[in-house]
């Protein structure tokens, strides 16, 4: 899995802490974790394409969450970065070779594909059940003053 998933998750959690009043530039988001700005920007654009963040131009511009963190799941972020495809892609090899089963002779779903998809659905279900707001809530349980800390860090020039 693309390392951008981890980056995007942390950025979303941090943007949820910063709140909707303040936009954060890609440069500041990158500097916070010492990430390459151009490459992080690609991930942020992917989040923007999927309507997870919005970007605004200008001197006070930057990125904000596009909707409340309660409505952004971990699955949304993974899908934005990794694409919507399943990790396992059935190439239907049973339709190949000298004994190929045609769609007419065997229209039934491949049982291996079925098992793999079942597992992927379980994975998706878990990720869809956790939101950025859930993670933020747990962060604030551990460190109640964290919102102010993060806001301050992003508002100064030092990233």
């Amino acid at each position: 899995m693309n390392e951008g998933v981890e980056w995007a998750m942390h950025c979303c959690v941090n943007l949820s802490l910063v709140g909707p009043d303040q936009a954060v530039t890609a440069a500041k988001l990158a500097a916070y974790y010492d990430l390459p700005t151009a490459y992080l920007n690609k991930q942020l654009q992917a989040l923007a394409r999927d309507g997870i963040v919005t970007s605004s131009p200008g001197p006070r511009g930057g990125f904000r969450l596009a909707r409340p963190p309660e409505r952004i799941t971990m699955m949304d972020v993974v899908t934005a970065i990794e694409g919507p495809e399943d990790a396992f892609r059935c190439a239907e090899i049973r339709r190949q070779g000298p004994h190929a089963e045609s769609r007419e002779s065997n229209p039934a779903r491949c049982l291996i594909d079925e098992g793999m998809r079942h597992a992927e659905l379980a994975w998706r279900r878990e990720l869809a059940a956790r939101t950025i707001a859930d993670i933020r809530a747990k962060v604030l349980e551990r460190a109640p003053g964290w919102t102010e800390v993060v806001r301050k860090r992003y508002s100064t020039g030092k990233a």
Copy 2:
């Protein structure tokens, strides 16, 4: 995910149909689905390394399942081909940058990593709950005479 996962699953199901009395060469396993023999052989070697199949040399040699298909899960096959690593690998970026959280200042498990692992565990659990014998049983439900068909196909020269 490597296409070898699908190949390996089909080979294991077919070997379970063939049964322990008959070994099948990589060439025959490959010809059945019109797969490249050398590349399939790599997957079969990976299955052998993990104790899922055994290979025997000689004119009547080839591959057999190394244990009953009731004791080979889909997870075993995926792990043999893909390796045991999680798809998401946390690089701990929170320990990077000017505000890096040290292991002393914040020893707690990263909550994003925790969420991702929770989902991977759900995926693993599903795959670990399905065996090659389960798939074979469903195949035979759909096509009761399939064991004989597959045995015959592999026993002839035509693969």
